[in-house]
Symmetry: C2
Subunit: 242 residues, 2 copies
């Protein structure tokens, strides 16, 4: 049975980390909200609260993955689940936990990237919090982008099995997600990302190697890859790039 | 061999979720930074980057748990690891993933609670971002506290095995963490938390039941429980409680 991905149809967002794992593995999946014609797709999305009876263990938010009767929310949990099934995680317990740790750190970076354009409230428009966004983005550019990327650089350099991937000698979902983090930072903060990445050759090499994996390469050139835009998590507002 | 917890010695913070699991299980553990006299304890804390050679897989941030040669960072990953070992997680795979999902949602709530007093930058003092904090806190009180707590309420009501715990019929690390989330919200936002909790009787009952578990009860009354304070994640600034 095909995996079903539930996520907003017009943005990469957090769903993209799941899409990349499914695409890289060549998994059979349905991007549920994108199957409908145009905006109608969103109608397929509601995951109501449990009192509505549709799902016994309803995710708090999207993305969610449905695998038969099992529904899983939280991007890192979805990826841990898929990693075991799609051969995108190491088999040993310590390696599995380390891969989860890496993913959770990527998730932290993604959440902070989001908050650069929405520092006060996700319920307000960016235009209603621009001065605050400028201050938060400055902190993110100066302190957080370097700290995150240099940590991943150090992790790659210290991997005793390979400096081309984060864990062991095979690609994991954390590598695919690091690729996506680099993509997003380069889109949203091209100048700041370039400055930090100049010090992170292993991270850049990993990004480039992931982009050349045959299924990922095909995916990135397909219509299934939604372009970055200013509705997603990584938004390019030039004034936030310093 | 005793577990070693690495976390800041003067705050509950994210380390408290780990402390509660260790305490509830009666596990043998060392709270490393608190073993030294006074502030000297912090000297025991550095987890250097891997190029420093001390740890092959260094956490990005604290808390970190050391179990023999294994070092794990990221609160949810630590708890998933401990959950299996301390009998604080279900044994089945679907239940383990659901418990992780619940924990990650608690982690999201905790991160948002932190950002109410630091909406712009963790590198600035609260006093340097008070107007912004007021706006972010208003959003958190009005929209996010109810959404999080009502989701947990619905999860408890929908658990087919018990409405006294989140997963199955036994206490998991997610229950202990929900207790702590309620504690923190009540400390930081007593008025807003009371308003939301009035609609969440199952959450309140779970909180109260956890507080009465013998080892937790003893822990909460001991000096090992650090009082809430305005250096931690949950800070009581009355102006942020509306």
């Amino acid at each position: 049975m095909a995996y079903e991905l539930y996520y907003w149809p017009a943005i990469q967002g957090r769903g993209e980390f799941v899409r990349l794992a499914l695409e890289d593995a060549g998994a059979d999946y349905i991007d549920v909200a994108r199957m409908g014609a145009g905006a109608a797709g969103e109608a397929a999305l509601p995951f109501p609260l449990p009192q509505h009876g549709a799902v016994a263990r309803p995710p708090f938010a999207l993305p969610a993955l449905k695998d038969g009767p099992l529904v899983i929310g939280q991007t890192a949990a979805i990826l841990m689940y898929l990693g075991d099934r799609l051969d995108l995680a190491p088999a040993d317990q310590a390696g599995r936990m380390w891969t989860l740790q890496l993913q959770l750190t990527i998730a932290d970076a993604v959440a902070e990237a989001h908050d650069t354009h929405h520092p006060l409230s996700a319920a307000l428009y960016y235009e209603d919090q621009r001065p605050e966004a400028a201050r938060r983005a400055e902190h993110f550019r100066k302190h957080r982008i370097p700290r995150f990327l240099e940590w991943f650089e150090a992790v790659l350099a210290a991997n005793p099995d390979s400096d081309a991937c984060l864990v062991g000698r095979n690609v994991t979902y954390a590598d695919l997600s690091l690729f996506q983090l680099v993509e997003g930072l380069r889109y949203a903060f091209p100048r700041a990302a370039a400055r930090s990445l100049a010090k992170c050759p292993h991270v850049v090499a990993l990004h480039d190697a992931v982009a050349e994996r045959p299924r990922i390469r095909e995916y990135l050139r397909s219509e299934r890859r939604i372009p970055f835009n200013e509705d997603g998590i990584f938004r390019h507002y030039p004034e936030l790039d310093g």
